[in-house]
């Protein structure tokens, strides 16, 4: 069995709204092994995005333990959390979230710049990644000059910039038509085949069907985990 990349123990995320406590996450227990492809599903408001934000260190749990690659990241200070985010995690958002004034290569470079990679190396790696995502003809283009699918490819290239432990995606195909969505999912499959650990939040059973496991959320808890395939196995 592969080593766990993510371990969540009794994880809570509680919002206080007008004196009321809302538990977006209420004691989540979850282990994700290296190389796994995990889909997170569940009804709206069940805490999927909150879970992904906590996994991505964008949000902090109110309580509980989060081990990322064996390191307890629950109590790191902001600088260290930022560094972990940039170096060990990669994000793909539903709305791409590219920086409009930067071109394709520059967008892909951003995580490397913050990780202290030298100018020259960053440029080379960014170019190679963008080309691998099929953007070889668009390297100098701004996000507004790209289709949604192309933008999401840039976002994936950017998420891979620092070769993260885990790639996190929240509805990565939510804004795309079916065909383009299939292309993006194909890219994710390919990454998975190369051993990348993926966590994808989705409403789409077709998307979830590509994952090894489906984590079903309800009311801030993991309700059930469906196993499509043994972890690490490729189809």
């Amino acid at each position: 069995m592969a080593a766990p990349v993510v371990e969540l123990r009794d994880l809570w995320r509680t919002y206080v709204l007008g004196g009321h406590e809302v538990h977006a996450l209420a004691g989540v227990e979850l282990t994700i092994e290296e190389g796994a492809y995990v889909a997170i599903m569940g009804p709206s408001g069940s805490g999927k995005s909150t879970l992904l934000n906590v996994l991505g260190l964008l949000d902090r749990p109110t309580r509980g333990t989060y081990l990322l690659g064996g390191r307890d990241v629950s109590a790191l200070d902001d600088d260290d959390v930022s560094a972990e985010r940039g170096r060990r995690l990669g994000f793909v958002f539903q709305n791409y979230n590219l920086i409009p004034q930067l071109d394709v290569v520059e967008n892909v470079e951003v995580p490397m710049v913050y990780a202290g990679v030298g100018d020259h190396e960053a440029r080379e790696r960014a170019t190679a990644l963008a080309e691998r995502m099929g953007l070889g003809a668009r390297l100098g283009h701004r996000p507004t000059e790209l289709s949604g699918g192309q933008q999401q490819r840039v976002a994936i290239a950017r998420a891979l910039a620092n070769d993260p432990l885990v790639l996190l995606a929240d509805e990565p195909t939510g804004n795309l038509d079916t065909r383009t969505g299939q292309e993006i999912l194909g890219l994710l499959d390919e990454l998975h085949a190369h051993g990348k650990t993926l966590v994808v939040v989705t409403h789409d059973p077709g998307v979830a069907a590509r994952a090894d496991r489906i984590v079903r959320m309800r009311d801030g808890r993991v309700e059930r985990i469906d196993v499509n395939r043994p972890a690490g196995a490729t189809s």
């Binding site: 930022s82 985010r85 409009p100 930067l102």
Partner: protein
Amino acid sequence: MIGARARRLVRLALKSLWAHRLRSLLTALGMVFGVGAVVAMLAVGEGASRDAQQQFLRLGSRNIIVRSVKPPESTSASATRSFVVAYGLELSDVEVVRATVPHLARTAARRDIPSDLWNGARKHRGSVFGVETSYREVTNLELARGRFLTDDDARTKKNVCVLGAAAAEALFPASDPLVGSVRVGGDYYGVVGVAARRGTAPASGAGASGEEDSAVFVPLAAALERFSPLIRVQTSGSRSAERVELHQLIAEVSGTEQVTAAARALRTLLEQRHPKGDVNVVVPLELLEEAARTKRRFTMVLAFIAGVSLLVGGIGIMNIMLANVTERTREIGIRRALGARRRDVVLQFLAETIVLATVGGAIGLGLGVGLPFAITKAFDTPTAVTASSLVMALLVSAATGIVFGLYPASRAAALDPVEALRHD
């Protein structure tokens, strides 16, 4: 390493500013005009001050100038026709001044006789200045040709003269003045020298513009003997006469430190001897100090204006940067998600304001250098742009960028990444 990071920050700042170039330009305008106005005003002030300094220095920083002035009472009493008004310095004053005022190195007395100067049929309206031979050294009068009046000339009351530059040109346009002579009334004076052009006469007290250029200098003793101290004055029908023995006494003090003491003694003495107030004491050094005080006041007012305009410029920048931060909230969230620390976000926005303020300041500098140049051309006013004002303007603009950029930048950095990403 630091250099590479700074370069990257500046490049990123330029990119973001360029993405909104019109807005950036408008934002920087406050700095442009603030810095431009300050540098230009400093240049005008510096030019005026240098001009004044030069004028006073030409009067001689160690000199004290005593001039005869018509007392005010007699001007109002001039209803009386054909009345002889006697006033001003007398030879006896000079004796007493020499004998009693401390620290005097030398003195030079002058008597002015307005008269027509002739060379054959050529006439020049000018003056005869009867001067002591020390006049040249005391007033730093330069000679273009020949020699100045000597003690020998004075003792023998010889009919010799030195021509002012304008008089020489008017009377001897084609011939050599040094072999000619000038007629005043019935007497001929052999020309022994020609003075260099003085140009604009020193201001405040030394006399009208160009009067020395239009004069002939003769030994004082000769002037006293040949010209009556009575001068007829005609003013709108009424005829009167003035009796003035000497028009000017220039006293040179042995050192700058003694000028104040000598001036005090001289004033006290003259107040006793001329209670009517018909002499006037001008001390160039005092004028110089007064000019310096004026300049300091001017500089303080300028510093205040500069402060206000930079404040206005800075607030403009801060205002736009706050809007900028709000507008780019999502970008901040993205950058945070991609590993930017708070510090990185602060530096990014700070770099933008600093670049904006400094570029604005630099454009303002150009304006501030160009404007004085244009002012000098257009109004013939001296201006001087000093290097220190340029360096200061740039430093102050950069500092303005830091001060007014800090708040928007820290607001940007304080944003919660999740909130920022949700923003649109």
